[in-house]
Symmetry: D2
Subunit: 363 residues, 4 copies
């Protein structure tokens, strides 16, 4: 298991769905950085189950308990550790003998011989994204002081599409987007997305979707290519979010169909500075931020936990067997993943900023 990521700002995740608590350690914050815990809690509330009729009925208060590294509104200089208690777990819903299709259950059985604690998905549960959101909120507060803002919306739920961000990205709408459980740019899309999710629930099924994310204000020249270039570093974070199965930067898969003369972003002077005059590259070239907004789209599979009968096996009998998944599940996980992706990006980009600053030691 590789539960740590980041260099100067090191994030270490722990916890399991049905254990006592989940949480994280955020190491690298110097002492004296103002951290608004209410804002952390507000981000957590965006992701929280039980908060919305469209989500799982598992109801967790998801209150952050600071264990170390924070004192009277500021970082204390030591690693910041926080817990989120698990309270509303129904372990009896989990049938360890019948692996759920497209979950980690079967792979985990091969890996650990059935000895892992897989109740509620164990360490693979989407619940483990809560600590990412909490730590990411701290990163966002710091980035914001540097003029860097992150926003996202639902680009797709099943066959329902929102319009993409414009260019330049309309960052003034980030606040309103963050306030909505179904954040969209085209208000008409919201109701139709809601219908689609309710239909999935009604049929004991689930539905996938896609999130478009933008980061504005990132200076040009950040990134540690090749292996921690902007896209590499972000992708490592984003594919760690359960359910993400595709990631596109800028025009993404459409670039494969283009000619160079269509795909290239011209360079032009803007307010005295040379900058890209278009953004099909998604804000990064050669692994370095280009000065344009960082733009990416993450596509997520439908929640694999569905209540219709599915083909599985009995691991004890080694024979085919039918599975009906019990428990409380999200018919669509995508809306709750929006703050998670924002948080993951914030943690990643702040770490790249620290690497950039570190180079000043050499001159």
């Amino acid at each position: 298991m590789s539960n740590s990521i980041g260099q100067a700002l090191r994030f270490t995740l722990f916890g399991e769905s049905h254990g006592p608590a989940i949480g994280a350690v955020l190491d690298g914050l110097p002492a004296g950085i103002a951290i608004d815990l209410a804002a952390v809690q507000a981000q957590l509330d965006r992701r929280r189950p039980g908060g919305n009729a469209l989500a799982t009925k598992r109801d967790e208060s998801d209150t952050v308990e600071i264990v170390s590294g924070w004192r009277e509104g500021m970082s204390s200089g030591g690693p910041l550790c926080f817990l989120i208690r698990n309270s509303d777990a129904h372990s009896s819903d989990y049938n360890a003998d019948r692996p759920r299709p497209s979950h980690a259950d079967l792979a985990s059985w091969y890996r650990d011989g059935g000895k892992a604690d897989m109740r509620g998905g164990g360490r693979f549960s989407g619940r483990l994204t809560a600590p990412v959101v909490a730590a990411g909120s701290i990163a966002r507060q710091i980035l914001l002081r540097r003029g860097i803002e992150i926003g996202a919306h639902l680009l797709r739920i099943g066959d329902i599409e929102d319009r993409p961000f414009g260019e330049p990205v309309e960052a003034q709408r980030f606040g309103a987007l963050a306030a909505s459980y179904l954040p969209v740019l085209d208000e008409d899309a919201r109701a139709r997305m809601q219908e689609r999710i309710e239909a999935a629930r009604a049929s004991m099924d689930s539905v996938g979707g896609a999130i478009e994310l933008a980061c504005v204000g990132m200076p040009a020249g950040y990134g540690e290519p090749p292996f921690d270039g902007v896209e590499s570093a972000l992708s490592r974070w984003i594919f760690a979010v359960p359910g993400v199965k595709a990631l596109e930067f800028g025009a993404g898969t459409r670039l494969a169909r283009m000619k160079g003369s269509e795909a290239n972003d011209p360079i032009a002077m803007a307010e005295g500075k040379p900058l890209p005059a278009a953004n099909r590259s998604g804000g990064a070239n050669g692994g370095l931020s280009s000065g344009a907004a960082i733009r990416l789209t993450a596509s997520m599979r439908p929640t694999p936990s569905i209540s219709v009968a599915q083909r599985s096996v009995s691991l004890s009998a080694l024979s085919d067997a039918e599975l009906v998944v019990k428990g409380r599940h999200d018919p669509c996980i995508v809306p709750r993943a929006v703050p998670v992706l924002e948080a993951a990006c914030a943690l990643c980009l702040l770490d790249l900023a620290a690497a950039f600053e570190g180079r000043k030691a050499f001159s």
Copy 2:
């Protein structure tokens, strides 16, 4: 810059397009592992410029010179370092004052104040993928002894499509695919792709494309989630390949449109073992290999170096300026990226295998 990647098998890349040499260090190979250097050279020849009428006219012999870590056909126990000399560089073609659109030129100028050696793309050049191919060939030789094989084909060049791999993946065709400059499953696609590339060259333009890659024989349960899960670890490698702008696992972006009942891969007994009976997940669930083939599609932007006039700026004058890129460039980089992606995957998966084996120390 982050030029190292991997834990047990650590790859460190060095070199610049117009410097004396490029190369890499591969650290972690125990002594006594048979390494066939002719096979390494053969993989390099697949990627080599000058070998095909469709590629750049830059002609490099790309001969591997072993500096350390290899002796009489075997790894010696120390880090393996090799060089590939640069010989056919035309530095005068590069105009440092006019950044090329959608290249790293402008971002690098912001980062380093114009002090970086950007001739021929400098450290951002696609030429830096040659050491990946060489090291990856060694990893492939080792994986093959464990029954793990990697193959790839051109899924798309511009608007021309090949058919995707079947399920199960037809690994028996990997050898023939690797032998072709334009590897396709549907022979009809090859000629049309060739035409499309030649048309791009004729119009002083370029064209993008997509590569589908499969890895068969990977046991179930490998991967170090969350942050080095199969998708995260592979994506970090693959987005480090210049030009890759989108990455999909399994059904990828199409999963966002599906219902759970459509997307889930049923589990069934096969030859006495429980395994996924479909593979929309692309061979990984929860960051662990599922036992099905690992399947991914990487979409690449068209080569940004095109010879038609483009809008740029003069960095010295800080004014808009027209740019006509000189030099020898690939009208389509995608075919040459096929062995690069295969190599990157091999290096990544072998490192995950070492992590898996390392756990045996605990029991």
Copy 3:
């Protein structure tokens, strides 16, 4: 701050002396490893303040609270996180304006501008060694199943010396040593050490000492030189223990006075295996374990917290000022450091064992 160490077995430390809790995350344990929590607690009790008349009067129960990664006697497969609550902190004893000589106070002030939480030593407190002991106890349980045992004794308290371990190391005495607050091989030394510590307390002073540690049963050939060779990897851990100021392997500083013919360890057959027939090298050559016991001596400075008046400064007035340290302190920290060093070695050596096993992926 670098609060994480280890590759396959990654240890992340958190907490501050007067914050809510201290603890650690131990990542990399596969599922199903038996972990005896009572044994963990027993090791903690060896280090615990309040347990002995010779130690600080700060009384902490140091009870381990498992947050994740453990279930019904076994590792669950996720990262193991545990907390130890701080309960008996007297924050008013700490005078932030007058840095304590030979403590981190002044350096921290330069680093963080006085914004760090330095109450009780903050993140630099010796209290942070408790999570090392707890995690190390788990590592020791695993090593023991592989026949690897670690023991230590007080080689010196001030001018009072114990005799060193013999060769071969008398591992049969490890149990008795671990049961004593003043573990010595020469029983006569114990009473005299106790007197020396009591004399230090009586004079409101403190006294230093040295610990000799041995690890028996480590197979030959382990270690990841050069930069994680046995000595490098262990030294990084051991110098992280507050108060350690010197580290010697084998004959240590005395080797500098020797001739090669005196210092070399002859090789001879022993029970059918070639092994060192002496151990002046301390069980490692070239960064690899030699097959002999790993032997090291760590020298510790006297506790810098003493109650006699000392020269310091007022940081607010920027003028010289006298300091009288209040609070409850150990007149000799060395006995309590014994289980800490043992634990640090266990964590380090288990990680090297995992690296060794990982190499099997390549053959």
Copy 4:
């Protein structure tokens, strides 16, 4: 093998004693840093064999060949890779069947089953310190621009002692020390050390010694404790230098005999700044630089390669056997290790400086 070290400034070592070349990659230098290659060569010449009658007769020119990352006197922005060719290797001198006492030979045999290239010590050879010296020279040039200087002298050769550095450290003598093959503060010690080394050679034996090193100008508050605190980070580097068996900071082992009132460094105002008024702690408290000079002493074992007959075994026959080591060896390796330790410290401290600067991203 762990041949990489450092975070922001990452050093990767490669090569074997009798392979084609040795060298290193230094990753993390931004573009445009002036690098004086003549100064690099000058440092290498300090370490070079063949340059002095007291050293091995192996004669290597040790000329640095830059492969990447350097152009016209400046770093180019990519990783700097350089080679040093091996030219004067006598491989026939090495008897693979009879492991040399106190060398890595036997441990390597256990590890790799005799398959490693151990000619001339292979990857364990002291020759691998040459790339450390070359890279370290670059680090020293950069540190010097920040007012940080490193110097060292021979504190001991066998039973011959030099006086230690004074407090404050006499940095004005660093230049003269670096110019001498036997750098000493007390001129009388030099001739006696020379005699002792010549006597060792005459008797086909070797002799150990100790090096005292000081770093002046390091600001207070640098270091990444606990696990990359000043002492931990330096010790990891220094124990990677072959032959080092003990490391002491400040008063080192003598601190174990002291009382706190003797060992503590008072704090006093000096030129308007609060600073330690003594330096028994060796320039670091709690893993942070204290503002005083960093001071350490490394003790080195005598060269294990001696020409008198020694007890060993035949690995093929698995029986005791006598060994007479052939080849050309240093009767005392300590003088040649002086520039190596200086270089290792420079690389380590520059990396800590980058971590310090990186924190500015957070405020």
